[in-house]
């Protein structure tokens, strides 16, 4: 069932593609998500697909796995024309996917989450062996996760690893990964890369989508670029440069990637946290935050950075400790009280906590700042509301025909932008970003980084929780490293390096990390 890939086993000679799309088109109402796309996927290769947010990458995946049916075109599996009607169908053909938005079953434990959709495990459950198998897979992924734990309460990153485990355990011929590393940190990404390598050896075809271009260069054999639903280019990785790839993605050259700028001049102390503790979750977190400063929280997944954010926002209040905002001691026990002190928190999980997916874009953006729009008798000023949304749409280049469509219909990255807009609109004094650039393309990422810096310059105090170390190093004025609910240390940016942050985050001593 779950045979670990054998290192050294060579892939058989590649002859014909496992999967082939020919002239596939798909539109949702007015939006053409995919227009006449043809690609072929070869066994034993990693085929990367890149493109801006809304380029149609996820749509492509959903068509390959039968979640959506194409409007036009045909699909070939092993050279034979096939219709894939559902994910179940796809699995029967040996195709499995890790979707962009992790989807776990909160009431089932981790092991069941991994094995629930297996068709060939026999009629009767054997719980003990199931746990054992789950443990094996989890171990291969290099993470610690109790297979008996209910999926309810897993962090996004943990959910993502569960999904990866599920797909890996299926023993597939073609594995599709839609931004699998979006919420993983460097450590876990390394393991994933190793696993992908091993899969390649066994002749599995891997389709890999990511906005982290350095990852693409690490593992891809072939790169396909999509733009506006169209297929732009497919090239072997050896013929691709980062510049060229980006040009293909956006249709023009960009040179202004995020670059480290000099640290901001700090103003007054605005937030002071001492010995903040939530029993059993994290303890003794202490730091100061100044006006105009960007403080980054680094750590491995599950290091409880998010929980500190939640405590500061009052969603899961701390059980002890001391918080001072603008030199006044405060108690923060609900999001309302946090907002009262002008603290805002941008969640890492946009689908669960960030956005009301079945409501229009404008309603999502205006939600926490609705008060600004209220007129006589509490009536909402619709015009002002639309205008508010439009201005954000322009600034963040949210790709959508108009702001009245439901957020759920946007691509993942564009949803992320809507969520950012929603919190920027509250004009907070202290803004906590939890994985702010999760799943957004490099163009937009630069934009978000610029916005964060701009906010800082304008006097907002900012906390960024991020698993993306380059991002941390670029944004931060100071870096706070956490590990297993403990604050391991605070670096000034001048001392911080990838190495010393990782050393603290993984619990190695500084000496060992040389």
């Amino acid at each position: 069932m779950i045979s670990p890939p054998l290192a050294g086993e060579r892939s058989t000679i590649v002859s014909h593609p496992i999967l082939e799309l020919r002239h596939i088109s798909k539109s949702f109402g007015m939006t053409a998500a995919m227009a006449d796309v043809s690609i072929a996927i070869l066994p034993g290769q990693v085929h990367a697909i890149v493109g801006e947010n809304g380029a149609g990458k996820s749509t492509l995946i959903k068509i390959l796995t039968g979640v959506h049916q194409p409007d036009e075109g045909e699909m070939l599996v092993d050279g034979k024309q096939m219709q894939i009607r559902s994910t179940e169908d796809a699995q029967k053909h040996g195709i499995a996917a890790i979707f962009q938005e992790p989807m776990v079953f909160p009431d089932l434990d981790v092991a069941e989450n991994i094995f629930i959709s297996h068709h060939n495990l026999g009629l009767v459950m054997n719980w003990a062996t199931q746990y054992q198998h789950a443990n094996e897979i989890i171990a291969r992924l290099g993470i610690t996760l109790d297979p008996r734990r209910l999926a309810n309460g897993l962090t996004l990153a943990e959910q993502q690893t569960v999904e990866i485990a599920r797909a890996l355990s299926l023993n597939v011929r073609a594995l599709i990964m839609d931004e699998p590393t979006a919420s993983l940190s460097a450590h876990e990404v390394d393991r994933l890369v190793q696993i992908v390598e091993a899969l390649k050896m066994r002749g599995v075809a891997v389709i890999y989508i990511s906005h982290r271009l350095e990852e693409i260069f690490r593992i891809a054999d072939t790169v396909t670029v999509m733009r506006d639903g169209k297929h732009i280019s497919t090239k072997p990785i050896s013929q691709v440069t980062q510049q060229g790839m980006v040009r293909d993605m956006v249709g023009r050259s960009i040179n202004h990637f995020s670059m480290k700028v000099a640290a901001n001049a700090h103003g007054e102390k605005i937030l002071s946290v001492r010995n903040l503790t939530r029993d059993g979750v994290f303890s003794d977190v202490s730091f100061d935050l100044h006006i105009g400063e960007v403080l980054c929280f680094a750590g491995l997944i599950g290091s409880r950075r998010t929980d500190v954010g939640l405590a500061l926002f009052g969603v899961e209040p701390a059980t002890s400790g001391y918080i001072e905002v603008a030199r006044q001691p405060v108690t923060i026990d609900s999001p309302q009280s946090a907002l009262k002190y002008l603290i805002a928190y941008v969640s890492e999980d946009r689908r669960k906590f960030g956005l009301a997916l079945n409501m229009p874009i404008f309603a999502n953006i205006s939600l926490p700042s609705l008060k600004k729009l209220l007129r006589l008798f509490g009536l909402i000023d619709r015009k002002a509301e639309i205008a508010m949304a439009e201005s954000h749409r322009e600034r963040l280049s949210i790709r959508t025909p108009n702001v009245t469509i439901d957020v759920g219909k946007l691509s993942g990255g564009n949803q992320q932008k809507v969520m950012l807009a929603k919190w920027l609109e509250t004009e907070p004094r202290i803004l906590i970003f939890d994985e702010p650039t999760r799943g957004i393309d490099i163009g937009a990422k630069t934009e978000v980084h610029n916005i964060i810096r701009e906010l800082a310059i304008r006097g907002v105090a900012i906390i960024v929780i991020s698993s993306d170390l380059p991002e941390v190093l670029m944004l931060a004025d100071r870096v706070l490293v956490m590990r297993e609910g403990r604050q391991m240390g605070i670096f000034d940016i001048s001392e911080a390096t990838q190495e010393n942050i990782m050393a603290l985050a993984t619990g190695q001593t500084a000496a060992m990390s040389q």
Binding site: Q69, D71, F313, V315, P335, Q336, A338, L339, Y345, S347, K352, F353, G354, L355, A356, L357, N358, M359, P360, A363, L367, P368, L370, K371, L373, L374, F377, G378, L379, I380, D406, K422
Partner: protein, 315 residues
């Protein structure tokens, strides 16, 4: 709001048109003024509660106890009159009681955190039980004439007070729901209570307000019921909750919350009332009436779904 909703309402208008046309051509008495008044009058309490139920279901909750609150408030009114207190005082006490009963529901739902379906299922049984405790096997009549007149006689033309209460509720609640910040909160919470909480909305407060309103409005409906029938009994308004919920759901309000419109519910109310009235005028028995409305309820969701699927397959 969304395209789908617009098409849902146009579907309802179509159904309403057909029903009315059939009624006019097959039931000669349908268009008489008296019949049109009766059509509303006979179900006035249900449609009054349907307005607030719309908000509650859009909020992602449900209140099964409305009919029991109606019954209990009507019986309380009867008891108070029976011991010789003035009716005006009784009215106030009953409205207060309704608000209290709603607040009890709200307490269990928002503070203790038990799903509203469970809470109001228990209070459906419990509140009805207290109506029984009050009146046992008695029926109470002998309400003051002005009170009875209020329920029965036309206030303007032949339209009684209760009709205006309904119209007023439709108008205000529809503005509240679709135009105000509170309404936006109702929708958002219905969509995702977690997102609402993370956005700083006071989820518990919004829910409590709705359940308390629901209690108050149900009590008012109970009083209208007592006035219209000039008598109360322990089984007053028994089983009304299902009819009310049916009307709201047929109006296109999603049982999962977050979606729906007052316009849709008003249209669906008109459809159900017309349909029932038309069938009654054609001497169709209660069972068939209920079944026809059941079929309509299913078909109104099923047919658009099927068409949607056909469309996506054919293109």
């Amino acid at each position: 709001m969304s395209k789908f909703l617009r098409s849902w309402e146009s579907l309802l208008i179509l159904i309403l048109g057909i029903t009315t046309a059939v009624n006019i051509s097959l039931a000669p008495e349908f268009l008489t003024l008296q019949n049109q008044v009766n059509l509303f009058q006979l179900s006035i309490e249900k449609i009054i509660i349907a307005t607030i139920m719309t908000l509650i279901i859009i909020n992602g909750e449900i209140d099964l106890s409305v009919a029991s609150i109606m019954g209990l408030s009507a019986c309380t009114f009867g008891t108070i009159i029976d011991v010789g207190m003035p009716a005006s005082l009784a009215i106030l006490l009953c409205l207060g009681l309704g608000i209290m009963l709603g607040a009890i529901n709200a307490f269990w739902i928002t503070i203790i955190g038990i799903p509203s379906l469970v809470v109001t299922l228990a209070s459906l049984i419990g509140y009805r039980g207290f109506a029984r405790v009050l009146l046992e096997d008695r029926g109470i009549t002998g309400f003051p004439d002005w009170f009875i007149a209020l329920g029965r006689d036309g206030l303007i033309g032949s339209l009684p007070l209760s009709f205006f209460a309904f119209a007023l509720l439709v108008a205000t609640l529809s503005i509240v729901l679709h135009r105000t910040g509170f309404g936006r909160e109702v929708f958002t919470i219905g969509n995702s209570a977690e997102v609402a909480h993370y956005s700083g909305l006071r989820v518990a407060r919004v829910k409590s307000i709705l359940f308390i309103l629901s209690g108050g409005i149900s009590a008012m409906a109970g009083l209208f019921y007592a006035a219209r029938l000039a008598s109360v009994r322990g089984d007053a308004a028994f089983g009304f909750e299902l009819d009310i919920i049916t009307m709201v759901l047929l109006g296109g309000v999603s049982i999962f919350g977050g979606k729906g419109s007052m316009l849709g519910v008003v249209l669906s109310i008109l459809i159900v009332l017309n349909l029932r009235n038309g069938m009654a005028l054609m001497n169709i028995t209660g069972h068939i009436q209920t079944a026809v409305i059941g079929i309509l309820l299913i078909a109104s969701v099923l047919i658009p779904n099927m068409l949607e699927r056909l469309r996506s397959v054919s293109t």
